[in-house]
């Protein structure tokens, strides 16, 4: 920290991604031997910023300075040559190569005949792993490693070669305490070697532990940058959140019925570690948590897409076991998945099939499907959910994100289930489509359905839900009615340390 050398500087950098998301006039300077932590809520643009620095995206406007010189990035490989190392959140290892080969992939030691010097490779790997305190066999295949070990390995790669700037995207998202310590030691080692480290995190305790400077991001902007000495946890939470708009959600106050779905001590691998909650009839239950907290896995377990390793699910007071989504569907549980392009829209198929594919049984008659009935239902549904123009002959793959999401919701509404699980129902869609989706959710709840709303949109959680659960490290750490909980509390629960 003695040399005040600016390694990397961004000046007024902007990049527009779509109508609802953009990085807006980012100013950031990174010094050598400094850990710069970037925090912010989900979707505030942290990962996008890192990818911009790593040359994966080209900015629309603004300037980059690298060691005091203006740079025009041509792409990822040029950034790598300059010594910029980007480590994405998902570890990217070659499963069929050994740990040593993965680690030294860019710097494989060669012998005199420029062949692979295996002895030196394993030697160096062993030395590095011992220094970092990772106990792994260098010759083992990367494919045999667990998720946490893969993450550590991914971070250890940054120690090899001369990296002037290391960008780590949530390196501790699913690490337990001992592994986190190892990761911190890697970060400290990099700092001592004079590298500048950008560290994206959700967890406030980490910020205080290893950060030198903190930048807070909100809605694609850096709203504040400050040295670590000047902050405390509560002011940080406050800066992350900003003003809330929770009045605009069209919810009804519906008297709640009996317990419908009870989940007791649900485990799934290392991701869910004892989840317990109850869903009442005609209730909207909000489940929120940070990336990697197990939200999506929980939704998958309830829908039968993943079989839980332990724990019980009671439906109407009777234990049920879902071996496949078909089981869950037959019991009246439907999931509207997060990624509509991957998991929902049927390509090369028109709106009629896209809307009716989940409920084809309704249209069954002795000679096949009642196409006229399907046709009129599709016209009616697309009109009611606000698909415009929503012609039965349209191909939803060409729709905007908002319209695709409405197709997804309408498809499962036609299934007429009792329990609906929505996984991020409004992520990345325009405001008017949000209004349509929320109105559809309210409509179904007032007509007897129950909803589990999995979301990282805090306003949506506080605006729509009757009860809010916070999932942290695979456990429910907070279960409060909507009017008893604030955004600050949720964030504090979500970013808090695990016991």
């Amino acid at each position: 920290m003695t040399t005040e050398c600016r390694v990397f500087e961004l000046k007024n950098v902007s990049k527009r991604f779509n109508e609802s998301f953009a990085l807006d006039t980012i100013n950031l300077s990174l010094l050598s031997g400094e850990v710069h932590v970037i925090i912010g809520e989900n979707g505030s643009g942290k990962t996008a910023l890192l990818r911009l620095m790593a040359g994966l995206y080209a900015p629309d406007s603004g300037k980059f300075f690298y060691n005091g010189q203006e740079q025009q990035f041509q792409g990822f490989s040029q950034a790598r040559q300059l010594g910029i190392m980007y480590r994405p959140q998902e570890p990217q290892l070659f499963d069929n190569l050994s740990i040593a080969e993965n680690l030294f992939f860019d710097h494989l030691p060669r012998n005199k005949l420029s062949g692979l010097d295996t002895i030196r490779l394993y030697d160096k790997t062993k030395k590095l792993l011992t220094e970092l305190g990772i106990t792994l066999n260098p010759q083992a295949l990367a494919g045999t490693l667990g998720y946490a070990q893969r993450q550590l390995l991914e971070a250890a790669k940054a120690c090899i070669g001369n990296n002037a700037l290391v960008a780590l995207d949530e390196p501790t998202a699913s690490l337990a305490e001992p592994e986190r310590e190892i990761l911190f030691s890697i970060v400290r080692r990099l700092r001592e070697s004079g590298a500048s480290i950008v560290y994206v995190s959700h967890r406030l305790d980490e910020v205080l532990k290893i950060g030198d400077k903190v930048s807070v991001m909100r809605h694609g902007k850096i709203v504040d940058t400050m040295p670590i000495e000047n902050i405390d946890k509560s002011s940080l939470v406050h800066r992350m959140t900003g003003e809330l708009m929770t009045e605009r959600y069209p919810r009804f106050t519906v008297p709640k019925g009996n317990a419908l779905l009870e989940v007791q001590n649900l485990h799934s691998g290392h991701i869910l570690r004892g989840v317990t909650f109850t869903l009442k009839k005609q209730e909207i239950l909000g489940i929120t948590g940070l990336m990697g907290s197990g939200r999506t896995r929980l939704a998958q377990c309830l829908f039968g897409a993943v079989e839980p390793s332990r724990g019980t699910i009671l439906l109407d007071g009777k234990p049920v076991r879902f071996r496949s989504p078909q089981d869950a569907l037959n019991r009246g549980i439907a999931l509207v998945p997060e990624d509509r392009v991957e998991n929902c829209i049927l390509r090369s198929q028109d709106l009629v099939l896209n809307l009716t594919v989940a409920s084809l049984r309704r249209f069954k008659k002795t000679t096949g499907l009642d196409s006229a009935h399907m046709f009129s239902l599709v016209k009616d549904y697309s009109d009611r959910i606000g698909l415009r123009p929503g012609k039965p002959g349209d191909y939803p793959e060409f729709y905007s994100g908002g319209n695709q999401q409405k197709v997804s919701v309408a498809r499962w509404l036609a299934k007429r289930s009792r329990i609906y699980i929505f996984d991020e129902p409004t992520k990345g869609i325009d405001a008017s489509s949000k209004v349509d989706v929320y109105n559809a959710i309210s409509d179904m709840v007032s007509k007897g359905a129950s909803v589990i709303l999995v979301s990282s949109d805090m306003e949506e959680i506080l605006g729509m839900c009757d009860r809010v659960l916070v999932l942290t490290g695979g456990k429910i750490v907070c279960d409060l009615p909507r009017d008893k909980v604030t955004q600050e509390q949720i964030l504090e629960y979500a970013t808090g340390e695990e016991e």
Binding site: T253, Y395, K434, V435, A440, D443
Partner: protein, 283 residues
Amino acid sequence: MFDLECIVYPYGGFPLFALERYRFIDKYLDEKKQVEVHALSELLDVSEVTIRRDLEKMEKNGLLVRTHGGAVRIEEEAGDSPEPDNQFTDREGNAVHLELIQEIAATAARLVMDGDTIMLFSGPLCRALARQLQDKQSLTILTNDIDIASGFSRSGNKRLVLLGGDLNPDERAVFGTLTMDDLQRFHVDRLFTEVDGCGKNFELSVHTQEKAMLVREGRQRTEEFVILCLASGFEKSAFYSFGSARSGDLLVTDRTVPDEIKQRFFDANLRMYTAPDIFEGAV
């Protein structure tokens, strides 16, 4: 002749299956308002019997009405026949589907809790709402509309307070200083009022000055202010304004409301119910 080219299939092919023929006939109806069996049979290269069967099925599902040798849209049919029941004409003479009014009313009725004290001001939307409230228990209802009052006159489990004042025979409701004085004595949980215009800056307006005054006064005397507005009333001004929609107010409209309006309300933190009435209940 009808242009085959206007039916675009991104993946090529001709309408061969029943579903594709329905789509074709539907689109044809959109453009031509009526279809003939022999023309369709030629265009689609199928027998007239098949077309007749198609039209029969589409009629059964309410997509069209068969005529001699062809079919027409249902809307056309309804316009000709004396069926005022499924149409409603608003002040500017535009036809509004009664279904939309009923959906607004049903959605607004869900905002009323058993045991509430509510106020309903005059107008067709509020009258439709009053009809939806028959099943609610132990309500106290204040109104200036004589039709609403007479509708509740026989229901035992509700208390009805009819405000006094000068009767306006067109509106079938009472207005004036007497009504305003009467209003001073009450405070309600929810006030339902329908507006005739909702402008760009969420400015709310009605057609008569006496109603604007009454609503302005009533707004001071309620916990929650519920605005009922047909989608045709947006981006319009009905001359007598009584203030703007504020955060915390509830707006109930029908599902034909344009996307830009939804967006504008959402961005302004205003709650909008679009009455989609889409869920058919769990099975």
